[in-house]
Symmetry: C4
Subunit: 379 residues, 4 copies
């Protein structure tokens, strides 16, 4: 018998659970700060650089709430002076038209003046200004972004690696790219140990982890690409720890995509994350610009869209989402409270200790139960 | 390749089945007694300390049926002289209001006089008086409880460990706590080998096993915490056996949560349990105070509720639930008869032998079948 | 870390598939005979000893079709001169009443004269007379059965073992039981290697394999007992082969329960079976007495019923079920043709070779597909 | 304990995902050519030899699009001068009648003149003429086919092996069969390492991989036979590589069956395929003759049909299916673009490199999500 290609088993949020610890701590005694470069945040929660989630107003509100929101610099906020009518059109489109309308809307050109203006709007609100661009546009936009006073630059595409082969002579090399940027750079997305380690060695200030799992992402269907978040986080956390032992440089990793509940948040950290980045949950707050709709940044791709418009509804506030109080029992509000409580139950004083929590494979969703609930809901 | 965090596989009731034995026994020849401290019970069935399940009347009925019911001392029965109107309000609330109504109702203060009165009511009915408090309230309430004549004290929270770190100087240590209590103490809940062993060494008289699986519990969604019951029971049973070999002291373990059918009951014992504790099935008896509704004791939490009001309906009696006869074929009545029959089929004369029964991983619920049934039910 | 109780993985029909062979054979070249004691059958198909499946008329038809039907001697055919009105009552009962009606109907006493009469009816039709009794009644009924001219005796209960402990001095020992029976005895049901081997050593002529999987059986829900058929068959086949190497005596095993399609039939043999026994598929033929309904023989149990009345409909004939031709593409007709074709595809000249076919774990039912079909069916 | 029959785990498209590479490439830099004998194709996509998918007109269109379509020579295109009225009858048949109508329509005899005419029609359109026959008819039809000018001969049945035992003296041996054929022969279907290797050694020019997974195939239900495509492709690719090392002869393998999306296509190549063959997706193009319906070539089998008529709808064009542009986000259009993008993300310059991509076991379909979508769709 020959040796066949081997496939490792990977796990997502619904496949695992956290095991309580051998001693416990009062929730108010746990700490959960995040550092990215010189910036510190009270809570390790980031809002995704997606057009229906973050505009300058949201970024300021998120800063006041203790976290960090990232503004997409290649979307509607730098294409339109006022994108509100366009957002309304998306919200009122039928399911079938939505992608086409997005494809059209995103063909408008990006304007340099709006790049600068959006960054200034965030700074004037007193917030840390974090903005996002694709690797391809980074070289061109970096001077403009730094000049406008941005604090952190996110360089983000579906999959980003340290080396990218293109038609140019040497392709896109991340170490060269970073030479000209003087603010902290967070890069993503990535999922594997080696790819993460190689990017960390280029000097990035943080990494985004996750390919495929987001609610507004269909990379799995379109490309077959994707790694469930628990496994992706475990592997990238191992790269971070390896890099830290090797260099003494601790590069935080941010699990990005597919997070819906307090339970999901807790599993990210137990799997090794330093922070979580969410789209859909923030898109459902009254502060978000999306009017209850949400779409991935690969959705408007002209030729091969890899995302869908998702209806999330407007059903909470930023404050309740993060801190409660809540009467919901499905884990979709008071995410910070859930994280505190779970850390206490696991006997973790801080996130570094919580990353060591035991996890088990324990499929959460019983088909039986769900169908039962569905049947009830339809009555 | 570095070593990544490993995840063990865990199993719940629907994942496993019991394998018949190599010889068989007539069901009437099996014995199934339970001992907690000096108290003995004919059948190893306990009713959960939940407000919709156990009131003094139910406790007396359960005693007459041969088992043990535990009264929650921090719920409506010690907050209200007569909680019936409050229970009616819960029962008539809509799905969306239920949690909020529970949150409000539970803000009423606990009254010492009612603690004593409830215990006396149970004693006057001739029953063993078992009552439940949270670890935080134990020190304060223990003298009052003992003075009122309680027989067994349950100290119970979502996750209880031997050491709890709090703002006080030395936190909550279980061995210290037990010094002042002179009646048997049963503690829970727990799920792991080490945590269980450490608690057994403090001198407890029994342990409750299970975090997350109950029908009225949403810890999995809210906190990501939970261990399926078969695995939890297997591990805690190993701790009990280890402790017994080490000390000669046999501390019974009670599987608590998620049990719905005779099949579930049998699997608990085959996995190593000495007793089972149930909420939902008892909540559906005519003797229960919940009027067909049921909720977890973390549901009324003001800030982060981790439970839901579940509609179970009133569809049986305590007698039929435990002893039949029944015309139901889904395992929801005659649980004692089911246990007897299963022990016979496995050739187990008593529960200690039944704990050695072979089990296999054999997912019970075929999606196909269930969807088919669902389709039929909707016709 | 201590050693925890280990659970093996078990497989049912929907979990596995057969791998085609390295050479192939024309279907008409394969042979598939069955021998039980001195009796030989053209096709290895048995009809279950269930009251809605086999009456004397059906037994004769099955014999003409080349297989063997077994008559239940403790059911309605020995309790009533003419059970037709009782069968009509069952067929017209509502879902909720069905079990109760069955419980009542089965309380009528068994009559010795009817035992003899039913056997004679089968013999007069020219068929091999195979009849079934429970272990408890075997000693009492065996003389009567032999005297009436029965050819094969099936001794069958949910789980049958070589040793059964009862209130009598030495319990029920199978070797003693067989001393007084001079016709071949087939025993069941069993699922494990050791239990099967021990029963084979008592001198039985065949074994029935399967606990829990049948459509009309709810042992899994009620008792938690059950082993999926592929694993059960693999283990009992290993016992048969072991016993054959040890003694030179080949005891055929019959996989009994849960078989619905040609694919299921083929998997039984590929897993090691010598024959298959079916209830539901035969219950759906025009020749069956059940009027499209079907129930397990533990369903009428007065105290703890472990079966349900299943509606199968009358939708084929015995001839089409076994031999086709068919226009159905779901595998529910032409089961013999399916077996021939599959044996050909696997390069198996006979059942002994087919038992060596390779199998893989390959879950058949995609949730996605089924829900899709269900959605379509409801349109 | 004896050694029981072992079952390996097998994987289908929905069970796995592709892991992004450690470096990335611009999609326009990847190459994806296919060679079969002396013929080269721009894209490694084949259309199945199924009557609702390929007629001469479709074959010419597929050639212009850069791929290869195979015409079934034993179906309606060689039985009828003009099969359009028959296709209309199939399309308008009810679900229950469809199989019977197909069974009747396929009883018409095959005509030699139509065999020659169909091949000439394809050649006159400038396309490579690839045609398909069953092993049984190959010897008889090969001279006629070669004379008519066919370029590639596909010899295809559900399962084809190098040796087939029949009533003739030596059975059907593939090496003998190939002696008389002077054009490249592609053989299928096959799934295992040994069976594939043995066929490659007979001198075939290509192999079709896949038994059971197609949307219009019910071999799993009817025969229990089938191997999920990812595992089948991995094993046959190992045979191809082994054969290549042994002989220097590279025999391409074509994954055939069950492919619906760009993600499925990408997984075939990452598992080791050199090309993909699809039925249902092509059946849904305006160029296909099936009018939105589709059926397997074993569906019309007179005695034991093993396929169903599937409604796919007419919802795209050949051009959009292969090259886009598209507004669909479910991966059902722009399959070539998806393959290019995925190869880029995996850092693969060509298909040989892409065959080395890492894959993981990561079940794609969350029951929860699907039921949610289903619930939405029904609103």
């Amino acid at each position: 018998m020959p040796q066949f290609k081997q496939l490792r088993r990977a796990y997502g949020f619904d496949d695992v659970a956290i095991v309580p610890g051998e001693f416990t701590i009062n929730p108010e005694l746990v700490s959960m700060g995040l550092e990215i470069g010189p910036h510190t945040f009270d809570i390790p929660f980031l809002a995704s650089a997606m057009d229906a989630v973050v505009d300058p107003t949201f970024a300021i509100a998120m800063h006041k709430a203790g976290g960090l929101a990232v503004l997409n610099l290649e979307g509607v906020w730098t294409k339109y002076d006022d994108p509100r009518s366009m957002l309304e059109e998306v919200a009122s489109a039928s399911r079938n038209e939505a992608t086409l309308i997005l494809q059209n809307a995103y063909q408008a050109p990006m304007r340099d003046d709006l790049v600068a203006r959006r960054i200034k709007e965030i700074k004037e609100g007193g917030a840390v200004a974090a903005v996002s661009v694709t690797p391809m546009m980074t070289k061109k936009l970096a001077p403009l972004i730094q000049e406008a006073g941005a604090d952190i630059l996110f360089v983000q595409s579906t999959v980003t690696t340290a080396r990218h082969e293109s038609n140019s002579i040497e392709g896109l090399r991340f170490d060269r790219l970073l030479e000209h940027i003087h603010i902290p750079v967070v890069v993503g997305n990535t999922v594997g140990f080696n790819a993460t380690l190689e990017l960390m060695r280029t000097g990035v200030a943080g990494m985004l982890v996750g390919v495929g799992p987001g609610a507004a992402c269909t990379s799995r269907e379109v490309l077959g690409i994707g790694v469930p978040q628990v496994t992706a986080t475990i592997e990238c956390a191992a790269a971070r720890d390896y890099h830290f032992r090797e260099t003494g440089n601790y590069v935080p990793i941010v699990t990005d995509g597919g997070i819906r509940t307090g339970g999901d948040v807790c599993k990210c950290f137990a799997a090794g994350a330093d922070a979580v980045m969410m789209g859909s949950p923030f898109a459902g707050t009254t502060e978000a610009p999306g009017r209850g709709y949400h779409w991935g940044m690969a959705t408007p791709h002209a030729n091969l869209p890899r995302g869908t418009r998702v209806h999330v509804g407007v059903n909470t506030t930023l404050q309740k989402l993060l801190y409660g109080p809540t009467s919901r029992t499905d884990g979709t509000e008071n995410l910070v409270g859930a994280l505190r409580t779970c850390m206490g139950v696991c006997g973790a004083h801080n996130l570094r200790e919580f990353q060591q929590a035991e996890m088990i494979v324990a499929p959460a969703i019983k088909t039986e139960g769900k169908i039962y609930q569905f049947a009830q809901a339809n009555q």
